[in-house]
Amino acid sequence: MDNVNPLHNILLYVDGSESSVLAARMAITMAKVYGSNLRVMYVVNESLLNELLKAKIFVKVEKMDYERDIEDDAKRYLNYVKKLAEGKGVQLDTVLRKGVVYEEVLREVKEYGADLVIQGELGEVQSLKDSFYEEGERILRKVSCPVMVVRGKEKIESIFEAL
């Protein structure tokens, strides 16, 4: 048992939010401490864009335009997390997908063989799950491996700084 790393592959899910940055710091810390492989993924929420198109809130060209902007933003964000990891001597690989967020995360967990998913804090909505999307919560409920939801900004920042 001593030779088995229970956290061989860590999957970090980010969405560009501030809580994602915190989750990234925690994931980088854990990857370094446990010698784990780290993969960071961002999912462009294509299903949401399609819903807005269907509801005629977006026109077609506009939907494509937003999708491209979000994709560009995602690339910048993934690159930022990569630089953050490299600064601590941790190597990671990045994955950018499009689709239904939790479905893409579930697929990645399977393909990557993730032992742990790390994500940022969940939204505050408690009782309107059907009305408000909370992708983080869907991941938490559906994913087949352990999930770490990161909160505690000061604590994590101090751990990360000391790393």
Partner: protein
């Protein structure tokens, strides 16, 4: 992403004086430019009008979500305007629009922008919320109603 993080009381107007579509967009943009220093009203107005010319953002049940991307705002900004009389906004159900959510964001905030639009659409679909907002009477009450909805109240 919380809607209330992007709405200030100064960006809520519960007694719009506009009487037509162009006027209401102008009034919403003016409300924004009066409350946010770092924005260019003319550029924003042009962006919103241009988007509106592609297709109306007037939805059903008295709700309209005029929106555009624009470099001239620092971050996602939401302005709420309420017209008790209602304004013809070429809505999907042909009825006058009574509550307007103007949403402007720079291209670099496309993600939060889309999330915010989706949240407003979902909020509008909850029975009674739009009526409550229209009857709110003041900015603080509008914010309180949105905050309650976001927190599951």
């Amino acid at each position: 992403m919380k809607l209330t993080d992007h709405i200030t009381p100064e960006c809520i107007k519960t007694d719009l004086i506009a009487e037509d579509k162009d006027e209401v967009i102008e009034e919403l943009v003016e409300t924004l430019s009066n409350s946010v220093e770092c924005c260019d009203a003319d550029v924003i107005l042009h962006a919103v009008m241009e988007r509106e010319n592609e297709g109306s953002t007037g939805l059903e049940k008295g709700v309209a979500i005029p929106h555009a991307k624009c470099e001239k705002v620092d971050r996602l900004r939401i302005v709420i305007g309420i017209s008790r009389e209602g304004i013809d906004f070429d809505s999907q159900d042909g009825k006058p629009s009574r509550i307007f959510f103007l949403m402007i964001a720079p291209p670099s905030e496309a993600g939060p922008h889309v999330q915010a639009i989706a949240k407003i659409v979902k909020m509008a679909s909850i029975e009674g919320v739009i009526e409550k907002l229209i009857k709110a009477g003041n900015a603080e009450k509008v914010l309180e109603i949105i905050d309650n909805v976001e927190n599951g109240g």
